[in-house]
């Protein structure tokens, strides 16, 4: 099938449908409105159901109910709406319900702005909700990758009974790029015997729940969750590396920012400065090893975490580098986007300093 130009938001929605998503519950917010809008027209065609919820809080709890009934279900929002969903998200993680949540991030804090940002990294990866839990966080850097990751997100969610967050930004959502919808390789997924669909008199009643009033039980539940998270770390960590060989400085960047970093790498190359890139594709599980290896690499003098935030992922970079090399940060925030030039200058400053 030939490539077609797709707008990020609409491509994400279509990818979900192709992945068998039949239910979508959401609430409007810029810059992700094309996702619910597309779903409202598309889902009825596949016998699914789109519902505009009264709020993000209601939307995430509708997702809870639908996921608890075993459906492939998605919701999407942008930063403020995702903050409202935090209680629902920790319930979903606690009850181990598979679903896909899309956050097309905008500037914050508060009402902030509507332009692209990456300042929800902490919320996404460390858990914005209460309690010990993890979301699988996928960070596409192009519309094509968004399409591929969204389709896989549903499989990951079902395989581990865990919510998966697709973290984009206003650029991913709004821009058009050529897309080819390709089948993701099928995983063998467990049957959803736990789903509430009526007992049909054939089994004990199923219960979807996150309450464990006996603390010993609650702790056991947490231990089980973290066994599962270990599995996910083992199987699902993804990273792209670029130009690391002989690199003096390694940029770490995800999503659209990584593309800007690549431009910077190429112009630095023209000036004879070797820079490389580590692009986490999964923000959780985080690709610590790739960074550790780069940190051990002799040529590498320093790391530069480039983000559209005041410095959030840089903490995970530091944790991975663990003191072996200096780790620096360069970021723009509030809807401002780093320029290749800005990154280049920062890199030179650091290497100048590191010399």
């Amino acid at each position: 099938m030939a490539k077609e130009l797709w707008k990020g938001n609409e491509a994400i929605a279509e990818a979900a449908v192709k992945a068998g998503c039949k239910y979508f519950f959401g609430y409007p917010i810029t810059p992700q409105n094309e996702i619910p809008e597309y779903m409202s027209a598309r889902l009825p065609q596949v016998g699914g159901c789109f519902l505009q919820a009264e709020s993000e809080v209601a939307a995430i709890n509708m997702v809870y109910g639908a996921a608890g009934s075993g459906a492939r279900v998605m919701t999407s929002s942008s930063s403020p709406g995702i903050s409202l969903k935090q209680e629902g998200i920790t319930y979903i993680a606690g009850a181990e319900l598979p679903c896909v949540i899309v956050n097309i991030v905008r500037g914050g804090p508060g009402l902030g702005g509507i332009q692209p940002a990456q300042s929800d990294y902490f919320q996404s990866t460390k858990g914005g909700g209460h309690g010990d839990y993890r979301l699988v966080v996928l960070a596409p850097s192009s519309v094509q990758e968004a399409v591929d990751l969204v389709q896989e997100a549903f499989d990951i969610a079902d395989q581990y009974r865990n919510p998966v967050l697709v973290l984009g930004d206003g650029m991913i959502g709004q821009m058009m790029e050529p897309v080819e919808f390709t089948e993701v390789k099928k995983r063998k997924l467990p049957e959803k015997t736990w789903a509430t669909v009526g007992t049909g008199g054939k089994r004990e009643h199923n219960v979807i729940n996150s309450l464990f009033i006996d603390p010993a039980e609650c702790e056991k539940h947490n231990f089980r969750l973290f066994e599962k998270y270990k599995e996910i770390e083992k199987n699902e960590t993804r990273v792209e590396t670029y130009n690391l060989e002989g690199a003096e400085i390694v940029f770490v960047a995800y999503g659209t920012t990584s593309r800007i970093a690549k431009n910077a790498i190429n112009s630095l190359a023209k000036e004879g400065i070797k820079a490389g890139l580590i692009r986490p594709i999964t923000l959780w599980p985080y690709p610590h090893e790739a960074i550790e290896e780069a940190a051990a690499q002799a040529s590498v003098k320093a790391f530069l975490s480039v983000e559209m935030s005041m410095g959030q992922m840089v903490e995970d970079v530091r944790l991975a580098v663990n003191g072996k090399k200096p780790v620096h940060f360069y970021g723009r925030t509030g809807g401002m986007v780093p320029t290749p030039k800005g990154i280049v200058e920062e890199a030179k400053k650091i290497l100048g300093g590191a010399k």
């Binding site: 509507i114 821009m175 659209t256 431009n263 190429n266």
Partner: protein, 178 residues
Amino acid sequence: MAHEIIMAGFGGQGVMAMGKILAEAALKEGKNVSWLPSYGPEMRGGTANCNVIISEEPVGAPIVTEATAAIVMNRPSLDKFEKDVVPGGALIINSSLIDQKATRDDIKVYYVPANDIANELGTGKISNMVMLGAYLAISGATKEDTIMEIITEIFSGKKASVIPLNKEALVRGAACVK
């Protein structure tokens, strides 16, 4: 060499459509492309703009900060984007609505009376196609034929009648910069 274009004007001047058509054509010619619109809340009368990148390599950042060409359809857009053109790059000005001249001399500047031409052709609506025609003539970013293929796909069916008009607009635009 990659084409990195900024297209800007009033909402309603068709800059978004112009950008999409160009991107579609480039894609049809097997190039790598990206199209990035400005977006915002419903506040009318603002300037709309989009970035189009056409390249043999995979597209890096979809934002154009160093434009090989800027197509400006109104005065605020000229003020805003003239500085973003790379030295030697092209600045195409809709002289029908912009009396102002460009201030830089390290870039190639073209004045295209797009609205006047469009009005001559009978509808101001296609001033964007006039500008696009001029841009193609200057940059050769895509073949004019490919653009026409895309336009033909868009206006299939009963709207087909407007196809020749668009063709004409492209030609007239190109003529201005020959």
